[in-house]
Symmetry: D2
């Protein structure tokens, strides 16, 4: 609801793109988790702009200050408050558009909803907000890994019309695109350079997976694990679609093809993407997300001004030609936040249920370690 | 959360497929809405099984009893409780599978989560639950129409590999498939008959739209209108994917192509599907939903029993060869429930904001009245 | 919020005093609890009217039907829906007052809030609603007792100016007043008979306690255990005050007197009432509740009609001369509902925290087994 | 729940007594409210310590930084984040007690709940947290006053055995005790000086009122206005009791005495304290709150150490001899926060209900302007 996600591990974010700071409060965090301010750096760096020529040139240090909830290096169970000061906000880039509604942006809808909007860098609707999702998820990922052995990962699965021809998890973190096929990197670089030169942008697909999720997480019927994953992903800026497992490909499938068989040695396939009836099955969770192309372009587009007059909108600020590129850590973050929340809710309601037999093994993932 | 959907117009459903009854409680309903028990019949009939040979043979009367919240024909603002008795439950059909985990079903995950499950007809995981979503949405649709002129509609947009070649809203309610192209009905009938005869099932795509939604509904950033629509649709049984507007097609689009221009006469296109930054833009809301093929088949599939032994599962109960066929009213219901909830939340927070200029007209929809 | 209490063990009640039925849905109930419809009878009988001449003559059978959430005698973790049909509603008693606002009632405020009200028996504002609180708490009490050894009890602690001179828990359930001093029963009977004859009513104080609550339940800072107990008690019809431990007596106490010392053998006293900083201390929880005198009297009182004219209001329906008498099981119910909810929330967040030393024993309660 | 209060005007606070900062996030704030950082000073000063010898010597500047949610001097409807740096935290005062459980404190219960606690100045359980309640309520009070003409005020109503003999609202803000009887100030000063010298502490009663609340605010049955007020007040540190209107005095009243008559000119009395059936009646809201005496004393008390050994606890930090003295603005704050939340919820559900006749005037309050 509003600016809070999660029912028990509740993350509330605040802050505008060009305001003094962004931050979040995590309420309901389990106590006793070792946590230092330095631990946020790695994931924030993965999400950050300005690290390569393929993302916006804005360069924030994204130094996290822990304001509360940690004592002698461990979480105390009281609210964990994190703060990141904005340092590289250039509001003058946006002065011209303070009186414009840019096509494809939230300018007009914020204006209609609130009767007021902060136009500096998109204000609250900026992807800058996702910094705090990633920060909050650092805590979630750590608890999930330590307590349940859950591993959350992701990769870019399509950019424009280009899809990976091979899948190598090891390659994903070694290129600026989170791309799993190292043989395509030269092609991608050239594609992105041409795109940037053209002034246009392109969409992308991101796939995130979680391995090691035990069966039983998810609350039927409206609090289904897949329902909350769908909301979490769709709440990310620029997302237009979410799939679980085979997703829209299921439309053309037969039941005999889609339903995942089970045998004494485990599941035989994973078309479901690890969720049945809204509850995790113990298989790999597979979520795929569609990002639209960036609307902020230096190529002019038809917009309006506050008086309702037509204007040619040209955006000269610093922007990503493909927002999907930096989106992998954000999608991972939302996956982790949903999982920890559902894990805590499951423990609350079903903590009396002991080990339940038979426990079935996950299907062997495709390829080396497999992909989503 | 759990079995409740909505923050202010809160619908809590209960009941198992083969239990004595299903029902719901609507809390937070606006007072003064004229409401009679008879008004539920039309939409429940649209969702019901047993009306044509293309859906499950189970035939419930689905007579709604209003237990509370209505006085002298009007809602009082106190909880509206609706009850539907189950009358055509044949639990013996399921006795054999009480000790089996069917492939592609929630049997195994409920068992792992709760350590106990009601196997009769799928228990709580049955699509029977969606009856009450449709019932609750009758109230929502009425308020939305009377108070805001919002119209919610939907149609089947794909079944297996067949997609409509034409779009005629008037045709949708005149065939058992909610199919918008009357010229394809013979083909569809033949396709479904062959499918039923084969014992297999197939997936489907449903598109639902809302016209007349004013700009401003939706709560950034986690309570975005599209985020809540995604959750609402994904919470429906068998759904594997959700798209807003162009959805996954956005992945291959350019920014100049996707972003919807604006002019003094209104929006120039609607790739966004009526939502920008999580807030309605005043354009048609367009949501598309992927349904997997039914897993309950008389064709045997590899399953397990409670002892972990392999079993050939054959489902002889009454099932839909394509659950998507009856899903149109369910998707409409979830759309209406999300809209009324967001409308109330918007009124709560932004009730002080008066008319905001400029108000832009929606793009002219495609075709006659246009489709999603 | 609204008609739902609890965050994880969520009880939503519905139904009007003279409508067809009252009921509740319990969502988030732990699975595996043995439960039969017969188990509700004992507590509902304790709360019911019509059992002695000291309460309203309305006589409902209060037979509970379990509509969902139980399979083969055990809760399944899906919504538990309970239904009680109203059978002895005499709406004609209220016809006259359909156009009157009775002094001291919710008639006027419901009218102002909703623009419509169900006047039959007070509609939703009737104490009939509390039937379902007691029913829901039967499940909560059972889980608390079986899982944690928690025992919830209560007694009337004052009626008008009469307070118990002695305390014997064994006596409480053996008289219609839940009165702990068996030596005062004749006095009380006479007092109540005179009161009933006079046509007037009187207030009462109820004290409820919980023994065996482990330390650690309660969520600082707004979800404090005492804060939620205060809300729970104040949500009961006719309640005007709530105290924890020494309550208002604390105002005149010194710090050296109030603060409960601790020693190696445990706490030395329990002025705090078992809660420190919003979290249970492991001592007896002690909550005291003030009930106002019934406003429904056959003695005329100054009221208004719908046209704003003065009317002499005389209430001839069946009413309790002291609502507090039947309130003990209701207060117990709310105590139990708050406890199970906080227990589940504690397990969710702090389930990783093992046994913590030192665990201090509760102070020896006063008297035999002690009172609140 | 947890560290968040409110359903629609949601205030989440964070920060420990001796951590780097305290702060809050207000989500759901109506847009368009004029707001400057300077506006927080007045109420924070009223709550602050160190202004007179009668409160703790800790002296914080309590300078509020607005981190987000305000643009060009007006709230934008996005999260309002407020930050106050701690500057006068002397943690060494507390080093000795890091291994002690002080009697009457939350030390032991936090330890048992979380397995870890921040002992510096009481950590999260410190009354320092209430700074942010007062800050958040500045926004709430402003909206309530401007939009609805609601005025929230309070005064100390008892300290130890001393109660005001007269009531003059004008006097309340002109003495450090928020005391309404200017003739007793010398007596109070002497009493407090003697108390401070003795090293002991004393309890207090605070009464807060709201005038101008329209009829209709409050959500039956669990979200009653009085239920939420009770929770809000009981969530304040050191509170042990809450009364609405006549409160516990109702126990000894007759129905003919308690029920408030109505006439064409309005209500005839206000025993109910402005709430009937959980909904505001349009009369003055009257809430009375009991504060226990401070447990932090330099007089030794029996406590325990982490090894379970008895220790004589002496608290040498800076503390209030009567926490109730500074509590008036905190109680006002909680009253205002509950009111704005209920106002927004009422507008959400009942915004379609127009003016409802007859609207009854409030009873003339006692005295000059009257007191609670």
């Amino acid at each position: 609801m509003g600016n809070t996600t999660g029912q028990l591990f509740r993350v509330t974010t605040f802050g505008e793109s060009h305001g003094p700071a962004i931050g979040c409060v995590i309420d309901g965090c389990p106590p006793g988790i070792a946590l230092a301010a330095e631990e946020f750096a790695a994931d924030l760096e993965r999400r950050a702009t300005g690290r390569t020529r393929h993302t916006s040139a804005r360069r924030e240090s994204d130094a996290v200050e822990i304001l509360s909830g940690v004592y002698e290096g461990r979480t105390t169970g009281t609210p964990l408050a994190l703060l990141v000061r904005n340092t590289d906000a250039r509001s003058k880039d946006y002065e011209r558009i303070a009186r414009q509604f840019r096509p494809g942006h939230a300018d007009y809808t914020y204006w209609q909803k609130y009767g007021i909007r902060d136009p500096r860098g998109g204000g609250r609707s900026s992807a800058r907000e996702t910094t705090m999702r990633v920060a909050a998820a650092v805590v979630a990922k750590k608890w999930l890994a330590e307590r349940h052995g859950v591993r959350v990962r992701g990769h870019l699965a399509q950019i424009g019309a280009i899809a990976p021809a091979a899948h190598d998890w090891a390659a994903v973190e070694e290129n600026p695109f989170f791309w799993p096929d190292p043989g395509q990197l030269a092609e991608l670089e050239a594609y992105m350079d041409a795109l940037r030169k053209s002034g246009d942008s392109v969409g992308a697909r991101v796939t995130v997976v979680a391995d090691g999720v035990p069966p039983g997480w998810g609350e039927p019927v409206y609090g289904k694990l897949d329902a909350e994953l769908a909301a979490a992903m769709m709440s990310i800026n620029a997302v237009k679609g979410v799939e679980i497992g085979d997703g829209f490909a299921s439309v053309a499938q037969r039941g005999t093809e889609h339903r995942d068989g089970m045998g004494p040695d485990g599941f035989l396939s994973n078309h479901a993407g690890g969720i049945l009836g809204g509850i995790s099955s113990g298989q790999r969770l597979v979520v795929s997300v569609a990002f639209k192309p960036t609307s902020s372009l230096r190529l002019p587009g038809p917009g309006l001004d506050l008086d309702g007059n037509a204007v040619e909108v040209v955006t000269t600020g610093r922007h990503d030609p493909c927002v999907g590129i930096r989106a992998t850590p954000i999608c991972e973050a939302m996956l982790a936040l949903v999982l920890i929340d559902q894990a805590l809710r499951h423990r609350a309601q079903c903590g009396d249920v002991g080990e339940v037999a038979p426990r079935i093994a996950a299907a062997a993932p495709d390829g080396d370690e497999g992909h989503g």
